[in-house]
Symmetry: C2
Subunit: 127 residues, 2 copies
DNA sequence: CAGTATCCCGGAGGATACTG
DNA sequence: CAGTATCCTCCGGGATACTG
């Protein structure tokens, strides 16, 4: 088993650290949820907050700011009263849907097996 | 680009919380690295530690224990002196390779664009 | 409504020392 | 070598109050 393809090996790639950091950011709990909420359609701040549930404004704001900074979402302000802000995925943001769904699908498909393993393991190592 | 399939919507799936938790665990920085190191071939404890670099024994141990508990890796002890322990991916563990590589590939492919966005955004919002 | 500003706490995670 | 045990630090992230 060699590794001539210089591209897709995460651990051996030169930019490994940056890639891993980015994976960590996207893989973040709240970020994943926010992105998946926006996949269907653009949404407003409190709408996201309600849908995600259990997130503080602070964390939602942070997550959205990071996503905006990285160009995965856009923030559109309507200068009405009361103010209205709409967040939507950019094309770049949408492009992450497929790989993200792959992961989610994998988890959904294997969760029962994983939880069975976990239960079995815990039964064998109760102490 | 539609999205009628009633299954793969993370945010709306009934087991959303557990799935999200699992995504968070697998998406963990160290866990990703450990899994990707093991993809190539089984490896020993200190070998992993060296390859990953920057991880403490404690964190490596924890990560490996979790992966073992979930049935993604197996821990094989050779009762030699000095002791030798080999970690390897289970079939379940291997099965996550594809979706994981999808994510990694996406990041690698779009990292330049993302970093450009970031730079542009920071330039426009220096304060 | 959509944030920003503070305060605060628990736990993630590093460093070190010890053991089988 | 492959851990376990202990200590300690830092910051992720919740709660709350205030603002445009």
């Amino acid at each position: 088993m060699d590794m001539p393809p210089p591209l897709e090996k995460p651990g051996t790639h030169p930019a490994c650290a940056r890639v891993n950091e980015m994976l960590g950011r996207i893989g973040d709990k709240w970020t994943i949820l926010a992105i998946s909420m926006l996949m269907e359609k653009p949404r407003r701040f409190n709408e996201l907050k309600r849908m995600i549930g259990g997130i503080s404004q602070q964390m939602l704001t942070r997550s959205l700011r990071f996503l905006e900074r990285d160009g995965l979402i856009t923030r559109k302000v309507y200068p009405t009263i009361p103010p209205q802000v709409e967040y939507s995925l950019t094309p770049l943001g949408h492009s992450i849907a497929a790989p993200m769904m792959q992961m989610a699908t994998w988890v959904i498909a294997h969760l029962p097996e994983i939880e069975a393993n976990r239960a079995a393991h815990d039964a064998g190592t109760p102490a």
